[in-house]
């Protein structure tokens, strides 16, 4: 029994690393750029397909693929923010209205990106193994690629945290997260910094997608589930709070693994929702304080 619990903890943390990685990008997009992006998970799936294609067709390793996929995602998200979402930002006269508009616009975007993936790749599942070398940690057999994803998540979290709290641009981004109108008054270029935060979020999720594709079976319709989990991690972790996203992402991984091992693998989403409900009932403002305060 203790062995099983340890096993759950270790594999849960590794799964949680993936959730944390993909949630950090969303916390930037929603916390700073104030875009509730429902198409977020589609970019994860998109990057996974790119990595798959590079590996199977061009024989480029996914780790090298990162160098290609991440800047591409950055550019794509920059363009989306600039041309698709900026009109909504200027049109909205309150934060609530921007939320409503961005939910609707990205809901449409979700179906467009998903539709393109469906046209190219169809509805079937894809997978390829890369770095699937078993490693034993505390008696639990884990694949190297999963551990790599966890390490990457922790590194990104530390790097982002450092960047946001120790640099000038990071301070500007945090100021925007608190109040975009006030940030403008102290000579911060809000549109540019918001676009940067949004694009950076998109780049992070693409990195997550490439890493996840090394060990997860994926298909064109799977983005929604990732979006949902990331959204819940962001809300519970506090908007724009990088460390909150890391902690809640890891916790979600452990909770899901427990449910899937001890109860039923089919109920993982119910577990996510239970976490969400409990968090909302206990602390409607988020478990962790937002970046704002």
């Amino acid at each position: 029994m203790p062995m099983l619990l340890l096993d759950i903890l270790v594999s849960g943390l590794v799964l949680g690393g993936v959730y944390a990685l993909i949630s950090m990008g969303l916390t930037l997009q929603y916390g700073v750029a104030r875009i509730m992006n429902l198409a977020y998970g589609e970019f994860l799936v998109g990057a996974a397909f790119i990595a798959f294609w590079l590996y199977t067709e061009v024989k480029i390793s996914p780790l090298l693929g990162l160098i290609f996929a991440v800047p591409l995602a950055f550019l794509a998200n920059w363009a989306i923010y600039r041309w698709l979402l900026t009109p909504l930002v200027t049109r909205a006269n309150s934060r609530a209205q921007l939320e409503v508009d961005s939910i609707l616009a990205t809901f449409g975007l979700l179906f467009i990106v998903q539709g393109i993936a469906l046209i190219i790749f169809g509805g079937q599942y894809y997978s390829y193994g890369y770095l699937a070398i078993p490693v034993s940690i505390l008696g639990t057999q884990l694949a190297l690629n999963r551990i790599l994803a966890l390490l990457f998540a922790v590194l990104v979290a530390i790097g982002l945290y450092w960047g946001l709290t120790r640099t000038r641009s990071g301070t500007a981004i945090r100021a925007i997260a608190v109040d975009p109108d006030a940030a403008r008054l102290v000579a911060i270029d809000v549109p540019t910094a918001s676009a940067f935060a949004f694009a950076l979020g998109g780049a992070l999720v693409a990195a997550g997608g490439v890493l996840v594709s090394m060990f997860l079976t994926f298909n064109a319709a799977m983005g929604v589930v990732f979006t949902m989990k990331a959204l819940i991690v962001v809300i519970v972790g506090g908007l724009g709070n990088i460390m909150g996203a890391l902690a809640v992402g890891l916790a979600l991984g452990v909770i899901e693994t427990s449910v899937s091992r001890l109860v039923d693998p089919g109920l993982t989403l119910a577990a996510t929702y239970a976490l969400f409900m409990v968090a909302l009932l206990l602390r409607p403002q988020g478990i962790f304080r937002s970046l704002a305060r």
């Binding site: 939320e99 449409g108 467009i112 990106v113 959204l231 993982t268 989403l269």
Partner: protein, 559 residues
């Protein structure tokens, strides 16, 4: 109902007969298309019933549609069809209540996120139940029901949904929902139980969606969770309601009918690109038609309510109308309000003054119920109100204005005031409400523009409107938060005499104010706060001379 409506009624009757007779005339293909149109009209109208006025976004139509379909699949062979429909509606209602009660107390974005995954969640739970309890996936539904029977049921349901939507739009419930959509805080302080309004409308809308699912179920002979909980349905419903315009009665129908035809063409001609084209259509609608086709056609006129007699407010006869004792409130480490006690006698004007950040607005927020005190008691007319909801307090007779003015920007001046009239302890509706509205607008000097949208007013006029809205509650106690700030000297004198006239009407007032001239002119007593504590109280002239008060305002040197 007057004679001039007769042609319209006749037209409606002919239309209804034609619609009802369609199955006898049309071919199978046309009938199938009509069924599709009706079911989406019912779904989109039901969606707009809740989401239209409140501006909350539900992405969970598929969850309730699928739930209804599944209930039909489970019970169709065991009980009569009518009972199946009741079970389906009941199941939709029950799930909606659980979801609504847990998420609708919070801000709209949590609700949207929750509903975003709800269909997938319900699907997982159904799959889990089917696999673990029943042992197999999917169900066969052998029901001898003709296309015509499905069509007639849907026609009845759609008509009923439109009727419900029309009735809600005319009722206090609909008015409350529109106020929530414009500003939820204002709604709460106008006497509206916002959670109840939202949960009731959401549950109603979901029950209709579940019924639609149940009626549509016999069209499939085999149902499994992937078919019933198809997320595309949620998407289609939102796009239809938005295209037509979710704020108007026939808006959703106007969106559903052309889009069903469009979807039909798309699936027939571009089956692979369906999703992409749908997404593009959706974005075009969100950008190009934010208020739907209906919004393009006209700005719908404000609705009038049925006349009803208003009764005068009962006469209150206690002396101490408000008693605040030992009030505490902290935000994190900051003690915003620290052991504050004071009393307001009937008919008195009490000034609450002090430097910025001394906790004056927090005290008003505690009295009006926007915040809960950490400790201490607030009694209004002898009853404890420190645990009451804001809407209860507003109904009980405490009205407030906000330091940063809050009006319902997209509604007319008249509609800004009518919620308070409709939700106060003794509601006024219809003609008496119109008369009361005119009188209130006259009183604050806005009678010349009662149909203007509140957003178009100047800041000062918005403040006036806010006061009229507060007065519409027939308050016994009025909380004014820097209502005189920002007025020019002439306006200031007008404002002072307006407040003076309220005192003659028997309204007691607590006013937070920095304009000392006004404090001296109006207040019987004042309470001076600094750093969360009461440092002086008494007649303005004396209280303002106390050394501690001078120190708080001007610093040590002048004390």
């Amino acid at each position: 109902m007057s004679l001039k409506h007769a042609p319209l009624i006749a037209l409606g009757l002919v239309g209804a007969l034609l619609l009802a007779g369609l199955p006898l005339l049309a071919s199978g293909y046309v009938l199938a298309l009509a069924i599709s149109m009706l079911s989406f009209t019912a779904l989109a109208t039901a969606w707009s019933l809740f989401c239209g006025p409140t501006h909350y976004i539900s992405l969970a139509s598929a969850a309730f549609f699928g739930l209804g379909a599944y209930m039909a699949a489970i019970f169709a062979e065991q009980v009569p069809w009518v009972i199946v429909l009741f079970i389906a509606a009941g199941a939709g209602l029950a799930v909606a209540l659980v979801v609504g009660l847990s998420t609708l107390r919070l801000s709209g974005v949590y609700f949207a996120i929750f509903t975003f995954g709800l269909a997938e969640l319900v699907r997982q739970l159904v799959v889990w139940y089917e696999v673990n309890i029943k042992g197999t996936m999917g169900r066969y539904l052998f029901l001898d029901m003709s296309q015509a029977a499905i069509y007639w049921q849907l026609l009845a349901l759609t008509a009923a949904t439109l009727a419900v939507s029309w009735l809600v739009g005319r009722s206090r419930l609909g008015l409350a929902a529109r106020v929530i959509g414009d500003d939820e805080v204002v709604a709460r302080h106008s006497g509206i139980d916002t959670t109840r309004v939202k949960v009731v409308l959401f549950a109603l809308s979901c029950a209709i969606m579940a019924l639609t699912g149940a009626i549509m179920a016999p069209r499939w002979t085999y149902i499994d969770p992937a078919i019933a909980f198809n997320p595309m349905i949620s998407f289609q419903v939102v796009i239809m309601a938005l295209l037509g315009g979710a704020g108007a009665l026939f808006g959703p129908a106007l969106g559903a009918i052309p889009l069903v035809v469009l979807f039909e063409l798309l699936t027939a001609n571009f089956p692979n690109a369906f999703s992409v084209l749908l997404g593009i259509a959706f974005i075009v609608i969100v950008y190009g038609l934010p208020r739907g086709v209906i919004g393009l056609l006209h700005d719908w006129s404000p609705r009038r309510e049925r006349p009803r007699l208003a009764t005068p407010a009962p006469f209150a006869s206690q002396t101490s109308i408000l008693a605040v004792d030992g009030l505490h409130k902290s935000f994190g480490g900051l003690r915003a309000v620290d052991d504050v006690s004071f009393r307001v006698e009937l008919g008195e004007i009490v000034g609450l003054i002090g430097p910025n950040g001394s906790g004056k607005t927090t005290v008003l927020n505690l009295i009006s119920g926007a915040l809960r005190p950490d400790a201490g008691q607030i009694r209004f007319e002898g009853r404890s109100i420190d645990k009451a909801q804001p809407y209860r307090i507003a109904m009980g007779g405490i009205a407030r204005t906000f330091q940063l003015v809050r009006v319902l920007p997209s509604m007319s001046l008249r509609d800004n005031i009518s919620p308070s009239l409709a939700f106060r302890a003794i509601p006024a509706t219809g003609c008496s409400a119109d008369v009361a509205t005119d009188r209130l607008l006259q009183r604050v000097g806005l009678h010349h523009c009662s149909e203007t949208r509140a957003a178009e007013l100047t800041y000062i006029d918005q403040k006036r409107l806010e006061l009229a809205r507060a007065l519409a509650l027939q308050p016994k106690l009025l909380l004014l938060d820097e209502w005189l700030a920002g007025l020019n000297p002439t306006e200031l004198e007008e404002g002072i005499s307006l407040i003076q006239s309220l005192r003659h009407d028997g309204v007691s007032i607590v006013m937070v104010e920095h304009v000392m001239h006004a404090i001296r002119a109006l207040c019987d007593r004042c309470v001076v706060m600094s750093a969360g504590r009461v440092i002086a109280a008494g007649v303005p002239h004396h209280a303002l001379c106390e050394p501690e008060v001078v120190r708080a305002y001007l610093g040590e040197a002048d004390a």
